[in-house]
Symmetry: C4
Amino acid sequence: MITETVRVEAFSDGVYAIAITLLILEIKVPIPSAAPLSIQLMRQWPSFVSFVIRFAFIGVMWINHHRMFTHIRRSDNGLLVLNLLLLFGVTAVPFPTAVLAAHLGQAGQRTATLLFDGTFILIAVFFNLLWRYASSPHRHLLAHDVDADAVARISRMYSFGPLPYLICFALAWVSVPASLVANAALAGFFALPPTVMRPKTLKRGSGFRTIRGTRSWGDLYETCSS
Amino acid sequence: MITETVRVEAFSDGVYAIAITLLILEIKVPIPSAAPLSIQLMRQWPSFVSFVIRFAFIGVMWINHHRMFTHIRRSDNGLLVLNLLLLFGVTAVPFPTAVLAAHLGQAGQRTATLLFDGTFILIAVFFNLLWRYASSPHRHLLAHDVDADAVARISRMYSFGPLPYLICFALAWVSVPASLVANAALAGFFALPPTVMRPKTLKRGSGFRTIRGTRSWGDLYETCSS
Amino acid sequence: MITETVRVEAFSDGVYAIAITLLILEIKVPIPSAAPLSIQLMRQWPSFVSFVIRFAFIGVMWINHHRMFTHIRRSDNGLLVLNLLLLFGVTAVPFPTAVLAAHLGQAGQRTATLLFDGTFILIAVFFNLLWRYASSPHRHLLAHDVDADAVARISRMYSFGPLPYLICFALAWVSVPASLVANAALAGFFALPPTVMRPKTLKRGSGFRTIRGTRSWGDLYETCSS
Amino acid sequence: MITETVRVEAFSDGVYAIAITLLILEIKVPIPSAAPLSIQLMRQWPSFVSFVIRFAFIGVMWINHHRMFTHIRRSDNGLLVLNLLLLFGVTAVPFPTAVLAAHLGQAGQRTATLLFDGTFILIAVFFNLLWRYASSPHRHLLAHDVDADAVARISRMYSFGPLPYLICFALAWVSVPASLVANAALAGFFALPPTVMRPKTLKRGSGFRTIRGTRSWGDLYETCSS
């Protein structure tokens, strides 16, 4: 059964939105006490850092999911299952991040970093599986007029994914801070666009043609206007 | 009042997304203590297993809801109420799963398994009611060009639903592990597509015609192009 | 600034979906103890009743919101603000219901019932304000081809709303159970369709014309086909 | 990569919906005790005030986000990142509001007010960045037929944003109540429409043309009808 991707995206958006919004609930509100509020707030800095990190990581993953589904127009049962696998990784992120925030600078910081890095290896593998499946030419799940170069560039970007996360994981045995800095750098890398700009089309074509509109509207447009 | 199904699906997606994302909040973050973090994490295995199981079950139910609404194009008051009944079952799932995770290997494991299996009997009945109502020919809620064979196959799949869950329930009186294994096997079965592939249409038709597009777009397409 | 209603509905669906899904989190999972699990579960009956009631009430409110926005095609600033007021009432529901569940059969049951009934008076007023504003003829927020009779019937149904909830409120001073039964009966009444079926149109028109499609698609259809 | 904005809006709606709905969970349900329920509820007034304030603030921010995206039709990587920054501010709001509710009338009330005002300075800056980026003429992210006057008026409204919130912040050093009243007045100001009504078009044009429809529908309409 081949269907469009509206609901896959809506469901995924919901999962990302909840995972990113729930984070604030874990920051304890300081209660009036002997210590001044400003001191109490400052002591909470690990919670704030953890909040910012998790927000950034889940945000970057959402951008990548959005980027992928700009090209994917059709879904089948395999895509639904692989997308659920990826969302499984996304919903899990709050746990390793909270463990990391609680154990940084403590005896368990290496274990916490390995758990954190391990989660991102898994997510990188899931992103890879989803994109490979969707972009496989005989499945016809991508847009008809998709730019083959753009697809190749995204494929390269994602196939490159799991390896650096494995290096982060290995690095944690040598130095916990180095591993975490490398992990943050990777998130920054994946926030960047994979230079899929297709500038020529943008300059030449009309405004509407060059937009990768919602799934079948482009097709509909072509139908109506031809 | 007969309407399209966009909002029914959006609301349902929201409910599924929240039910599947909230699960992680119930896993306690281990605090730095005398026991090493790795030991503490290993002791939490029932929480992790429960997280994976619930994610998989709610994910499979979402796939089935999505599959059903691929064919349903119109909604009326009865459909709204029956869909709410089904969502009632979905939002309830976290409770019996948490009870099961807490009591497995304890004195209450049989009661917990019966509660867990009972919830899925109820959900199978609700899925059945919803599909029977929607696919009833005189209600005209399915797509105009729906494949009668596909509808019959889905009907068979869902009408078959409650019985095996009843068997799981009965099995719990004999053997708790057997009942749980059977339940997991059923989830796997419902994750599979009901072979509604319609390969002939896919090979013959143009790319667009064979996609089961969002509700009324197909109709719109036919209107515009004819 | 007059806009379409897609995002108003999407945002409202999100709020309803979260309000209805969060309820399960408040049911405590019994921990293994001296008392058998079955006994512990039975003692939790007020939590289960409260869960069912809240689910039903929020579900019925969602159906009514959906019914209203089937006719509303355009939104302006006033509609956004009035819709937020209504959602304010919806998000508040979990609190009075939890208070009622905790105090039923206790000294505070009258106060809890008044709080519960009061919330629904407020929500009935908000539903009224929203519909009066949207259906006011000079604002042009309804669909162009809306059935004037259907609008009149919905107006009558909603203007009738606040009064019976006021009666429930007054009844609580006489008898708490009578007030709660009357309140539940009202929820049942609002779950019913306001007989806006327009059977003639349904029989005469083509399949597509009679469906109240998503906002501007109907208009678009008329544009494309004329 | 330039795409439409459907998913950006859906994801944002989800984040707003969750941030606004979670608030009720923080109000503790009074348990039956020696004190009458009515007295217990009255003592909870700071929680209720905090709930109303947060709901209103997040609601106003949603209205502004909706207003902005009525004009934005296309998104690129920069817009995704700036929108995430803004949502970061939105998801953070529950924390400073809860801190304010807990410390009002206590020793820490100035610190709490500064934290609260500081959050809204940040959000005003993020709103500004997002709108400046989107409305920059060479990026072509706005609708083709956007009213240049309306854009200018919104630009003025938002560029004016951070300054008054800075004044609120400064005012907190002089008088905490004055700062909070000024902040609430600002929320009221931003709930008002920026007089982008374009009354001439509304009177002259047909019903459909003047509606700022979902992104590409207007374009599609022009394509189909010309």
